[in-house]
Amino acid sequence: MQIYVCVKHVPDSAAYIRIIDNRHIDENITFLLNPYDEHALTEAVRVRDMHPGSEVIAVCLGKEDAEKTIRSAMAMGADRGILILTETGHDSIETALILKTAIEEDGVPGLIFTGKESIDDQGMQTLFRLGALFDFPVVTNVARLEILAEKALADAEFSGGVVKTYEMSLPCVIGAGKGLNTPKYPTVRDVMRSRKSPVKTLLLPDLKIPPAQARMEVVELIPHLQKRQPVEISGTDSDIAQKIVQILKDEAKVI
């Protein structure tokens, strides 16, 4: 079985984001593998190891620097990588089309994994579009996955402690949530090995992606600083508790 994992090269969550020309960010910061994709990879590797003869392929649409993220994916166990080289950003609609085309060009997906969202664009939709293009079922925020002979069972987490178990036909698309597993840090040996694993580079124009009927475009980026002006609440523990209740009542008006 060929298991594809779509990975994204995103700014480090701790990086300071500087906006240039009101629409783009200064990309002179550390980029790395999207955190949710680590869970996707970990699960893909687990499934591969239970199905002899399977391989895990990390697919990434990104700029040249994104090869680092593919290398990280291979250090976490992916057998090989595909980098679809681009110079610009793409919305989720285009991204899904490109990923689909690249996957189809490469092989026959038995399973496709993604993270449930990317921490930069926070779009939460590429996986659903990918599923629709392939006509595969999709479940997001998956916390437990079981691959059976002809179907998959996936537990999806909802707020308020609700868990829904979905049954899907195969192939399917899985959006990994954090509850799915605990990714392991790659060892030095893993990293060394990943340097030698093959990465295929595709050029976007060669994929001949048709134009989409809809488009989402960032027209403005604004820093979200929202500096608050802290006021101290002091006194004994019971004074503090009383003041907090007072604030909830009189100022916030929530009780």
């Binding site: 707020s159 809809a214 909830l248």
Partner: protein, 317 residues
Amino acid sequence: MIKHIGVIIEQDNGIMKAANLGMITMARQKHTILFALVMDGSAGALKEKLSSFGISTIIEIRLAEDFQDNPDVRAKAVAKAVEKFELSALFGLSTAMGKDLLPRIAAILDGSLVMDCFDVDLENNIAGTSRYSGKTLAKIKVRGPVPVFGIRPNAREPVQEQKSAGIIQFEAVSLDSKLLRVVKRGETGKDSKISLTEAEIIISGGRGMKNGENFNLLFECAQKLNAAVGSSRVAVDSGWVPYAMQVGQTGEKVSPKVYIACGISGSIQHFAGMKTSGMVIAINLDETAAIMSNCDYYAKADALKIIPEITKLLETS
């Protein structure tokens, strides 16, 4: 030209979630007529309330019993309603349920989707949302047919506007889902029953709570306040609380009216999930913790002592 806007009403066990009203208020713009899409067979019961917030027509989408809970079937039904009633945009809540439904609808319509919107300008088709884990706000221009907007709960204060809504029954016939089926629905047990993304008040605990047991102090207080309980990643990674309670970059993004942080230092990743809260109150032993300099109120105190005191006060009042 008058636009028909569809608003997907989200219910929980037959009860309409309060956050719907803010969403309807946001959808009510110049040159719009609002259609509420109701899928849980309670249009009659909601008629009065929806009318008083400016809904002109309620479309009651009837689904076969077996498919009530199936997001694929629900998405197909909504897409059919879009066609039938010539809706030009859709609003839905960016809740856990919405995250499982709205992208499916957008994928079927092959149209735009912006999740977690705090603002939508229908005249220019521009939605305001956050990017880069909440470090920036982004204005997104959507083009193409029937954009879908996922609205952040509590983003807008509900404002009434009296209309008299009629109900139209819409039988979305021959819908099926061969690919996806819901086989079970359950609860994970220890968790706050109130959804984090919709709660008006959230009490969150971090490493300062010291163990899982102490989270009961937060649950007890939350019950009195009708609040939800959240946590930092440390509390999740330590196994004290389930992941569903994590607030932050890799957890829930919340905007309650009040966020009370107990024993949480205020890392950049935690802020990513709660910075859009109305009021932030921090209780921390360390005056120099990051959260103490970026909140509305702070108390340099032991959260394990303050929280039970608050619970006690609420019991007696």
